[in-house]
């Protein structure tokens, strides 16, 4: 798939044809750009704007009842977020979750892709489809199924382990994060495996020929030919997964229905949602936006740090 650009003759001056090309180009862009403005740019702008305000009641006395007005509070919302113990506790959980979940999933996906792509097993389409199938299950539904499979009363897994003498409580406070890791890993490993499989299958056959002439064995081919060729795809998948796990919401939100130990601010995204919904104080758009902005900044810094470390490692 080579990316070739337009081969129109070079037009230095802005000829009528060039102007027409400009107009046509923008007309084709227009629907996407308008929607993009409405769905991405305006909300980002609004989030930044509203993060400087808080809703306060005026005139209503001690029991409220006054009219709600937006009052400019400067950086107060940000001060609240960065000094909030709950926010950092949630961020700590999410980071711990990321550090465990992302490498686990990427390595599992890589191993499965390499095994499927190895010359060892002939009929692989069944495996490929089976691994990918969980991706078709929406995160909420997957979480509900797993919450039931963690339930000691009905789960054959918990009962089976108990019969073997292993008693696990998947909702115990030091285990529950791992239970969520499992749900996400179950859902997305197959998806990432397919990405890696595509990258593996794009490796030119000549490379295998060359390795064969050099007398490489299967293990050496996997490590020296295949692995370097999926590096790009693996690093991108890792980056996108890190950005994805920072927003952890569905799994804890569903697990909350079975486990009262999961608080309204268990993850930063839950905290933002519940602040916006008014279940946490200070409530409303202002503090919720401030939480979202601080999260976006942290996600951006993490992504940059990851890209930086990755470049340093590949240089050395």
């Amino acid at each position: 798939m080579t990316a070739h650009t337009t081969t129109a003759p070079a037009r230095r001056r802005r000829s009528p044809a060039a102007r027409r090309e400009e107009r046509t180009g923008w007309l084709f862009m227009l629907p996407f750009v308008l929607l993009f403005l409405l769905v991405f740019i305006v909300p980002i702008g609004y989030a930044i704007y509203s993060s400087f305000f808080q809703q306060v009641a005026t005139g209503g006395g001690a029991y409220g009842g006054g009219e709600l007005v937006n009052r400019f509070v400067g950086l107060e919302n940000f001060r609240y977020v960065v000094t909030s113990g709950e926010f950092w506790a949630g961020m700590g959980r999410v980071l711990l979750y990321t550090v465990i979940q992302v490498p686990l999933m990427i390595v599992a996906a890589l191993v499965l892709a390499m095994l499927i792509d190895s010359f060892v097993v002939k009929h692989v389409s069944g495996f490929r489809l089976g691994y990918f199938l969980p991706y078709a299950i929406p995160g909420v539904i997957a979480s509900i199924i797993w919450v039931y499979l963690y339930n000691g009363q009905i789960s054959p897994i918990v009962k089976g382990l108990a019969a073997l003498g292993v008693n696990v409580d998947f909702f115990a406070s030091n285990v529950v994060l791992g239970s969520m890791v499992n749900i996400t890993t179950w859902t997305f490993t197959g998806y990432n495996m397919l990405i890696f499989l595509s990258a593996l299958q794009a490796i030119p056959h000549e490379l295998y020929e060359a390795a064969r002439i050099d007398g490489a064995n299967g293990w050496q081919v996997a490590m020296k030919v295949k692995l370097p060729n999926v590096r790009g795809a693996a690093l991108l998948a890792m980056l996108l997964s890190i950005v994805g796990t920072i927003q952890l919401f569905n799994e804890p939100q569903v697990m909350q229905t079975a486990d009262p130990g999961i608080s309204y601010s268990y993850t930063p995204m839950m905290m933002a949602f519940n602040t916006s919904r008014g279940f946490l104080t200070p409530k409303g758009d202002g503090p919720a936006s401030a939480i979202a902005i601080v999260m976006a900044v942290i996600a951006g810094l993490l992504a940059m740090a990851y890209a930086f470390v990755e470049r340093k490692v590949s240089e050395s």
Partner: protein, 310 residues
Amino acid sequence: MSIATRREARRAERRRERAQADLPRSMRPSKAVKTITVVVLVVALVYFLFPIYWAIVASTKTPSQLTGSNGLWFAVPLNELPDAIAANYATLLGWTSDRFWRWVGNSLLYSCVSALVGTVVSVMAGYATAKFRFRGKGVTIGIIMAAMLMPATLLTIPQYAIFNALHLDNTMLAVIIPCCVSPFGFFLGRVYAQSSVPDELLEAARIDGAGEARIFFTMVLRLLAPAMVTIFLFMFVATWNNFLLPLMMLSSEDLYPVTLGLYGMVSLAVFNDRGALMMGALLGVLPVIILFLTLQRFWRAGLAAGAVKG
């Protein structure tokens, strides 16, 4: 992805298979390696499929059968299974006040409309950036690509504020419009327009006097049809799976997509009919599973574009 490249891909696959057959001894796997590989692959398969299997079994059980019977098999003899299924189906409809199929219909509507609109606008924009020169192009592409790295759920809270201000919250549009925009769809549209719309064809059509709109809608869309199926699939599933957006935007149960409806049931303190819920979960994912099974190769095409370009 034209027919020619697909044919080539198939040929490459066949070549790989042949290569498997006549591997040199040094690369031929030993029996132990072969056994370990098969064991690992099968164990992984059990891990990925077991929850789905369990959900199927559980969907036939009453609450007391769920706690009392063997979790790995049905609680009633196979010939009584249809009755058990019918009973749980009735329970499901009862809990949802007969809204269940409405929720599935809502999910279908949200996913189809936003994926359809999203695919067309993505392909138009991708085509524009691939085949036209205009001022601001580089910056626009840069911003859209940066949006791919933006944690999407963070946008949902300000999106709610905007739609609330427009008095569009708690409407179908509040779910459909945000799901119409996919930076990944734009990226795929651009990659495919670059690789499978020949410049010569566009030039020839222009010389013949065809207008740009006609060129796009009669020729380009046809060339990009396989790409559009891929983008449609990704956007359809993304909308179907979206949870936070409808949770924020919708308050009337009649507008719920199936995911939110089922979540609402689970979060009820008195809810206990887990078997009926599992039946709802299975019926609710059926449309997506069917899309998966019938359009597998388009999935792989999209993932391959991501892998190669990444």
